[in-house]
């Protein structure tokens, strides 16, 4: 705090005019950012993180917002300090993209889908720097190299959808860096990405900051990322700043109750070290049902043998199948009653497909699935429908998996109706009981999904899955889209239900810390195969397969003293799972390194 800060936010207040009157986006926030410093802003969804940063760009106005009070002091390149609140939009345009760069949350949508990467990269350069086409292109190439995008020349001609999510996010970063801004605002730049890619991006940003000396305002709700990146941390809660301090202060001596609660809710990789069975997290302020470790049973419930699912790629004149996407390749495992098996792996490795294949929501090519003695693969349509009463699914996106036009009561009652329970009273009582079960107020039964928060929605989804008293629930990324605090609650809920009802879960996730917390067994998937399968403790404490080892390394740890460096990472891009029609992959063979701990010996492609 010795030198002059680049940006100072003083008593910012932002209001949105909506039909029902003004809504407060940010109530009262003040903090500053110094040159060369990374300030992380944390807080849960809706706490006003994005609004603060957009105010600094004066972009809130375009979303219907209005800066109702406070000052936004920005130190311009040529010395003068101006109040951005009072600057007019034409001057703002020379600052935006030029002196303040911004990286947005969603790499998928932040780029214009119909223009090439090159065009979008050079646009700002030509505007602010007055570069010619060639010069801008040269600079764009340089930028792409800087963010370590392979084959930068080719990328310039490509459209955003032709790049992978990680590459797209790097393009967005390159765009923000194009004019060498003095302040870089990164709004959740890695939330939507895989651990492995996230690790790379974080490392990249860290390096760029060191090399260029840019000040960075980093917005996230992921405490692990904060631990990895921040110099200073600002904690926000419901439109207010509740705490500010250096990263160590915040993590080690949190002052504010909210900060404490937040930290308690973060699962940390390695916390479960030495424990065989999962146990619920201890959360602040929520009365715990203290269930202790959940042991499960030894009675097998679900047996999956040699499950193989491929999607046909059709092409040519007669739409013949020319190739197959080998989404799930020869996967076998057994899940016991009352236990949780987690499937982890990078995006696209076939986790969801495996889960859906078990329920026959996609038709597998081959394999054998047995649920409680019923051969699922042999069932006809009607039988399958009946069998599904025993196996339910919870989906990743709590919003997308609920019908926006239906009241929650009807949505939770739907499975019951499908299986012939039509008595209105009975239905109502049953649904009410389910709502109690997942700790939702009964008054919510008449609401619509959009009237609930993400965590509440996911509980509704769980209630729906529980409606038929299933034996098995496939939870496909069931907590990935949730805030940490909410995520912790949902996880606890799931574990409590398991303890009480003896449910079994197939838990699909890419978040290693969460997986560590909830699973009895873990299967690591890569390119359609399980490369390593075994009890959680064995797999996490003694990873055998090189891919598992790399994955474990990439996970950020919510501890500022255990930062990773870029050198630790060595990821290769995942090879294509598409193979021509005639291709017959080798069967999966495993080596049992310790009891129940299997490691793939067949070539997995890694």
């Amino acid at each position: 705090m010795l030198d002059q800060p680049i940006a100072r936010i003083e008593n910012l207040r932002v209001e949105f005019q909506t039909k029902d009157g003004p809504v407060l986006g940010v109530e009262d926030v003040s903090f500053s950012v110094n040159p060369g410093e990374t300030v992380c802003i944390v807080g849960e969804s809706g706490s006003g993180k994005s609004v603060s940063s957009l105010s600094l760009m004066r972009l809130v106005e375009f979303g219907g917002g209005e800066i109702a009070g406070g000052r936004l002091l920005f130190d311009r390149k040529d010395g003068g300090e101006i109040d951005l609140v009072k600057t007019d939009q034409s001057l703002m345009r020379t600052i935006r993209g030029n002196e303040i760069g911004m990286i947005f949350q969603e790499p998928m949508t932040a780029l214009n889908p119909v223009f090439t990467v090159g065009r979008q990269l050079t646009e700002g350069l030509r505007l602010h720097r007055g570069l010619s086409k060639q010069q801008a292109r040269a600079r764009a190439l340089e930028l792409l190299r800087q963010v370590r995008i392979p084959e930068p020349e080719r990328r310039l001609q490509q459209y955003p959808h032709e790049l992978s999510g990680g590459m797209r996010q790097r393009v967005v970063i390159a765009m923000a860096l194009a004019c060498e801004p003095r302040l870089l605002i990164a709004d959740e730049p890695t939330t939507a990405l895989d651990v492995t890619i996230q690790a790379e991006i974080l490392a990249l940003m860290d390096r760029l900051k060191r090399e260029t000396g840019t000040a960075v305002m980093f917005i996230t709700h992921d405490m692990a990322v904060v631990a990895q990146m921040a110099d200073r941390v600002v904690v926000m809660f419901r439109g207010n700043k509740v705490e500010e301090g250096t990263v160590e202060e915040i993590f080690e001596t949190p002052q504010h109750d909210y900060t404490k609660a937040l930290l308690a809710a973060v699962p940390k990789l390695g916390e479960m070290r030495g424990k065989a069975a999962p146990e619920p997290m201890r959360l602040l302020g929520v009365e715990t049902h203290d269930t202790g470790p959940i042991l499960g049973s030894d009675e097998p419930l679900l047996k999956v043998r040699n499950l193989t699912t491929r999607f046909a790629v059709k092409a040519g004149f007669f739409r013949r199948t020319v190739a197959n996407v080998h989404a799930v390749e020869d996967v076998s495992f057994t899940l016991n009653k009352g236990r949780t098996l987690s499937l982890v792996g990078e995006s696209g490795c076939g986790k969801s497909t495996a889960g859906r294949s078990i329920l026959r929501l996609v038709e597998p090519q081959a394999g054998h699935v047995e649920l409680g003695g019923v051969d699922v693969m042999a069932l006809d349509t009607d039988g399958l429908r009946r069998a599904r009463a025993d196996m339910q699914m919870v989906f990743q996106d709590p919003f997308a998996s609920l019908n926006p036009q239906m009241q929650l009561l009807d949505q939770v009652a739907e499975p019951l109706r499908n299986y012939g329970r039509t008595n209105r009273r009975e239905l109502h009582d049953r649904v009410a009981a389910l709502f109690d079960r997942v700790e939702l107020p009964r008054s919510f039964m008449r609401r619509y999904p959009h009237e609930l928060s993400g965590g509440q929605r996911q509980r509704v989804a769980i209630a729906r899955a529980l409606a038929l008293n299933p034996k098995l629930i496939v939870a496909d990324e069931a907590v990935s889209a949730l805030d940490v605090s909410v995520q912790a609650q949902v996880l606890n809920l799931m574990m409590e239900l398991q303890a009480e009802l003896g449910l079994s879960y197939v838990f699909i996730s890419h978040d290693m810390a969460v997986v560590e917390r909830v699973s009895h067994d873990v299967g690591v998937m890569y390119l359609g195969r399980i490369v390593e399968l075994g009890p959680r403790q064995a797999v996490f404490e003694d990873p055998q397969h090189p891919y598992t080892q790399a994955l474990m390394k990439a996970v950020p740890i919510a501890d500022p003293r255990r930062r990773k460096s870029e050198r630790d990472l060595n990821f290769k891009p995942i090879p294509s799972p598409i193979h021509p029609v005639g291709y017959t992959p080798a069967p999966s063979e495993y080596n049992e390194v310790s009891p129940g701990h299997f490691v793939l010996t067949t070539d997995s492609g890694y």
Partner: protein, 326 residues
């Protein structure tokens, strides 16, 4: 250095979901509440209600027979034309004047409105029914998609006039026998308009269903054992309501206009059966001398269409719980 902690934040509150505070209400009350706030919808709905009541019950108040000729009182100008033209032939007995055969214009507007509105609504409903059915089937069942879309192309290229003539040849007699000449023709016209104007709706609905089908809640419904039928009725249809409403408002206008074009081309209702479209068409040659004869039915058609459009806008917003919640 840090701000003082506001007292109201307790850790318990911190980890609890931010619950919306409003108490639950019944669904239809909600829709109505929302609709009430939409000025356009209220105006449009009010006008529509007024017109509907007027055409239904107007003849009880204004009891002149629209078909009654009174040749001595022909070509009377509407009462208001006396304001600027003191020489105009006006008569309080015919506030909107009479036509070239002395039929009372007000009575005709009322009777014509009944026919036009009925044709408009019925044809629109039929159009929506066919369009939605075909669109949903094509979008939902992959196998039906190709054939149904080709079928749509086929109907698109059918000329409406020969179709109308064929329909008249084949069905007029049985319909007349069962329903009488006017209702019979009404069914025929509504049928033909319905059968030839559902294609746009079908295309739109199909596109939306194709996209909705991939949404996770449909998969979730399937996973919880919902049958295809129920998926369509419970999950897909309510979600395509909004594009259907848009087509419906346009469909109503198109139906009224198509009916008038059919009359114009000579294949519509019996000649002594007034509709707004036909009144407009008949009055066009005399529009210089008697502008009110084109203006009145013209205004009625336009304003009705506008009202339906605004009401549709409002209903669309009101029926969507996402918008309603705001």
């Amino acid at each position: 250095m840090t701000d003082p902690t506001p007292d109201k934040i307790t850790p318990i509150a911190a980890l609890q979901d931010t619950a919306p505070l409003r108490p639950p209400r019944s669904q239809w009350r909600d829709v109505w509440d929302q609709l009430k706030h939409h000025k356009g919808a209220m105006l449009g709905g009010g006008f529509l209600l007024f017109v509907t009541l007027a055409v239904l019950f107007g003849e009880l108040i204004w009891q002149l027979d629209p078909k009654k000729l009174d040749i001595r009182n022909k070509d009377i100008r509407p009462i208001f034309s006396a304001i600027w033209d003191s020489a105009a032939k006006v008569d309080w007995a015919h506030p909107l004047g009479t036509d070239n055969l002395g039929r009372d214009h007000l009575a005709q507007i009322l009777a014509g409105g009944r026919a036009s509105m009925a044709v408009g609504w019925a044809a629109m409903l039929l159009t929506m029914l066919i369009g939605t059915t075909i669109g949903v089937l094509a979008g939902f069942f992959r196998r039906l998609d190709g054939p149904l879309m080709r079928f749509t192309d086929l109907v698109l290229s059918l000329p409406i006039l020969p179709l109308m003539l064929v329909a008249v040849t084949l069905f007029r007699q049985p319909l007349r026998a069962n329903f009488g000449p006017e209702t019979g023709m009404f069914i025929l016209i509504v049928g033909v308009i319905g059968v030839t104007s559902w294609m746009q709706t079908a295309r739109i609905v199909r596109g939306d269903i194709l996209a909705l089908k991939e949404r996770e809640f449909v998969l979730a419904a399937r996973a919880s054992g919902t049958t295809a039928r129920n998926i369509i009725f419970r999950h897909l249809l309510p979600n395509v309501l909004s594009p259907i409403m848009v087509s419906a408002t346009l469909g109503l206008a198109t139906a009224i206009i198509t009916e008038s074009a059919l009359s114009f081309l000579g294949v519509g209702f019996p000649s002594d059966f007034p509709t707004w479209g036909k009144m407009l068409a008949d009055a066009v040659p005399r529009m210089q001398e008697f502008p009110e004869r084109v203006m009145l039915p013209g205004i009625m058609i336009s304003v009705t269409v506008l009202s339906v459009n605004y009401l549709g806008d409002g209903l669309r917003d009101a029926l969507d719980p996402r918008i309603r919640g705001r």
